[in-house]
Symmetry: D2
Subunit: 354 residues, 4 copies
């Protein structure tokens, strides 16, 4: 019988191995928009990708009911080589009313983030310095924590051309010389383009501004690690939609809509077809809620051409807008995502609504 993972260290090691495998697999199998395109699909690990099944992960309340040692061991790697954050967090749990303890992954994250933000400048600088240098060869990973290797393996740095590598090395050296800490980028769903674009933009920042930006990346990494490490049984978040016809000044009734999940790959696929009601909304409430509301990348397809064919708006033979895809990411399992469409036969817009 296969032995299950027991400790957080083993957990993160498994995470690393599986994600490396996944990366290669997804590069081999993912549909390419073009040959130069690296996969955008996120690798938030789930049951299929490593041995610690979703059921074995603790929920946030489960985790916070454990012993001091367990909590610190489990959360100690969320901030790179900085288990003092987990320690202070555990301490704060003791001194506050138990009703104030975090109940969701978002609340847990905010509590830990707040500890970092309120720490001394020196502690924060130390935290930044604890991060591995992205520029060092991907094969020499010895001084990384396991968790950071997971993110790094996805950066596609292996696919850098020699020109790109030279440019990146030069920018990376300039960066370290100017700021005194390594370039940090939350890279789980990024490509080499993201990395180069980001370092190019950020190397010009004022020192104090880049300190803030780098810490923002550290928090983003912490958030992604937390999301991967806990089980979310009944997320409060949900996804809604609304279609307004800006040519006729009314809700777009009877418009067909499809929803697909594009990532994570193991749960990607068609989700459902909807037809808007007389108020331009989905007739049976949220498109996603509860366990269906997963962090990932989604895409609506709005059948705009069919809709306007039922109105008297003049359309061209090949309509300017026919099937309108709207691709968006869901990052926080506890929030409401309202992703509407404002559309005429000649224009459309969308936004993160509420």
């Amino acid at each position: 019988m296969r032995r299950r993972i027991q400790t957080p260290k083993e957990y993160y090691a498994a995470l690393l191995i599986c994600c490396l495998v996944l990366t290669i697999t997804s590069i081999l199998h993912s549909p390419k928009v073009s040959s130069t395109k690296a996969p955008f699909i996120t690798t938030i690990p789930t049951r299929k990708t490593f041995n610690m099944s979703s059921e074995e992960k603790p929920t946030v309340p489960d985790l916070l009911n454990r012993s001091k040692e367990d909590i610190i061991a489990y959360l100690g790697g969320i901030y790179e080589h900085s288990s003092w954050v987990a320690e202070q967090f555990h301490e704060s749990l003791q001194t506050q009313n138990s009703t104030a303890a975090p109940k969701t992954v978002s609340e847990l994250f905010r509590a830990m983030k707040e500890i970092v933000n309120n720490a001394s400048h020196e502690s924060k600088l130390e935290l930044l310095k604890n991060h591995p240098d992205l520029c060092e060869k991907i094969e020499r990973l010895s001084n990384l924590t396991e968790a950071s290797r997971v993110e790094q393996s996805r950066a596609g740095l292996g696919s850098l051309t020699s020109d790109e590598r030279a440019k990146f090395t030069s920018l990376n050296n300039a960066y370290k010389a100017k700021f005194g800490f390594p370039f940090i980028l939350a890279v789980r769903n990024a490509t080499k383009y993201t990395v180069l674009s980001s370092i190019e933009g950020r190397v010009g920042n004022m020192v104090e501004a880049e300190f803030v930006a780098a810490l923002g990346q550290v928090h983003k990494i912490a958030w992604m690690r937390l999301l991967a490490g806990v089980r979310i049984d009944n997320p409060a978040g949900f996804l809604t939609c609304h279609v307004l016809d800006t040519a006729n000044g009314c809700p777009a009734a009877n418009m067909r809509i499809h929803l697909k999940r594009l990532s994570p790959p193991e749960s990607a696929g068609f989700i459902a077809e909807y037809k808007t009601n007389s108020d331009g909304r989905l007739p049976s409430g949220p498109a996603l809620k509860g366990t269906d509301f997963q962090v990932g990348v989604y895409e609506w397809t709005f059948f705009v051409g069919d809709y306007f064919a039922s109105k008297n708006n003049e359309l061209t033979g090949t309509p300017f807008l026919d099937e309108v895809p709207i691709r968006f990411g869901i990052d926080d399992p506890e929030e409401h995502y309202h992703v509407p469409l404002l559309v005429s036969p000649w224009s459309f817009s969308t936004y993160r609504g509420s």
Copy 2:
């Protein structure tokens, strides 16, 4: 040696047969968004789809230099069973200055459309009545012109469920009883959903309003027939782009963009990668011009996530906007299509610009 097509009648017959084949083929092979989705890909016929090669088709000036009989034979089927339109058009060519003769497919279309619009009400009503009844079984096509069978075969009426068929029959009967002419829909790139949505919306129109709407469909059919029947050597139209960063109030410089053609299927595929210049525009002029500027369906992909990673805007772990697709149709080979993106990390919009 294979005998080439000689007469317009043969041409349209070939067009019909090839499109039916294409329809079945594309249904079998096209990637499906979902099992209930019919293909959205247009079937504007080209070299690969029927025997009359693009080179054999006349340009508009070529055509207008032919004999009266040839011109009328070639254009007589553009408006269904109404060669009087072609005849009057030919007459107008004789009486006007030769410099006023149409030089492009758009000008030719406008001239013929104007003749229809200025005709008597009775002539227009007759034109509407000349159209086949969409509701009659697709196999009983005997009283159709060949050209109309081509459009009709794409409506996917064969895929109607029995409920849908009953609904459609009932709507179609109500339509004919109310308006006195058959339901007409320019269906080359439509599905059964388009047909049902359209007849449901239009059956409620006031009689005079529906007359105008139906004639609009007739013009659209004429336009698509013209486009399929002439060669366009050097279209004046072109495609441009512009990206504005509405979070920072500046052009979005150094944003990667991909352009793909989604249809017609025989020329579908990746076209090019661009990187915006300091004004947020494509660095080497139009993305498409000349013979590359074809009627069809296109898709930009804007790498918005990479762009904002180079600014100091705070992004989430899974960004709300990362790769942003914008799908749009080009219908007129003589026009400028400006399809820009206005984007913040949390919203975007596009429109047909100029």
Copy 3:
């Protein structure tokens, strides 16, 4: 003691006289954007503008409880010289279930409009022909109904320059010759620019299309006459707002908003100040509802500069957006008007929402 108005004929006569006075007064006193600008303020008559006070007007249920003669007398002038509409409407009241009788001004309007739309083509053409010719001198009003004189007096045709007059006369003659009925424009809140712009655009229409457009104007006039003729005790309509920050992807909380009524002039003025709640909405429900929800022109002012000063978005010395006015009209007392703002420091949009 002052004698009150008793009959609808007297009512419309009073309406005419008062509006003419109001027109001159408002031209003399209204604040001008520029010397060439005619007043945009609507003249929906109220207590102050003519002798029939709002209290004396019947509500829709009041009116429909009256005798056949009263109903037809009261509604007979809604469609110009076409009391048959009112007669058929009264007939329909008798034959249908009493619960189906219109209860609101919108329902009453829809019922009468439907009667017109379903009438024979000849009846509709007659209705169009019954309208006075806008081009005839404003002083020779002898063959107009009183109600149409009211709308016409507001067109500002008296302010046409001789060039404009010549252009208008020529367009008007071309219009009548082409279409066989006079040019009709619902002009209560229009200026000479509206009139010229409209006739220039519409004279090029296909005959059948212009018939539909002209009938649309007739319905609009009917709607405005109905609104002026009945009392609306407790309208179902209401006004709401929502502000979304598209730079930061969240509701714009704690944004100050002002609401003003710009017209009708007798109730114009500052209405209220609001501060958005954490969801970016007005904290105590609709901004306008019940008797405060009046047909007219309104303006939000959003204090966008102050809002972004509380975020860390970089603003310029003179911000691109500081106080953002959004001016909009409310036309239907029975509908929900949702007029939101989507805003970044560098862009904004609004729309009629739901």
Copy 4:
């Protein structure tokens, strides 16, 4: 004969006195949106507001041709009590190629800003600490430089209610305790609402983030001081417009537009009327350029109702959109401001374009 101002110190003193007078005057005379509203009009000083006439101010090249002492004296107060910035700037002038010397106010500002950004953390902190405490009574201005008193007098802190004053004092104390430097806000065109909104939002920032935000305010103040202190003979900036009809997918041709300047008050007023050409643009190039292109607040009025009356779009009696105002600020005399309108009868949007 009136003695002219000779030294920068006198200049700033004059600026202070005149602006205080202007503040009171503008409070007395400016049109109020409501009684609670403080004036939004900026007070960029011009000929009318203080004795140093625009002609007497140096252009940037004039200024940089002066002696070292003059340059440092003139620019020494741009950054509060920190003439080292002007000194280092002068030094950089000596060491670089003369062609690299700033020629415009924007280039001069960027050069000085760069010196500050690249200075040591201690120097920057000192600069922040040099700023006066907004909370101290406005009458006790003894330790302020003259220039900062000018900005401060406009904050409308005199109009704080006692509740607001208590809240502000408490926030201000919390701010100083947390960050170790006084709350700084570029307040020339701000009200007490701006001040309260800003301090409430910023007091919650992480220490390092607020350092960056405060320095941003310092740069903004420097920019406004520079703008007030130099003459701009022939600014490169200009203002353009473009109107797109998103309901019909075309440029909005023949739309009337008005342009007004709302501030500075001494040059406020109606500027011009335009009518868009067939591409939806102003027919004779930029609306503002050269000396007409002044920093200030502007407002377009788009006559959208008249435009759509010429199309066949159905409008309501009181149109949802009729006269559409778009209010925007111009901050940089060297930049292109493109302020377009995308509009349907039921929606519109605008943005800072390029």
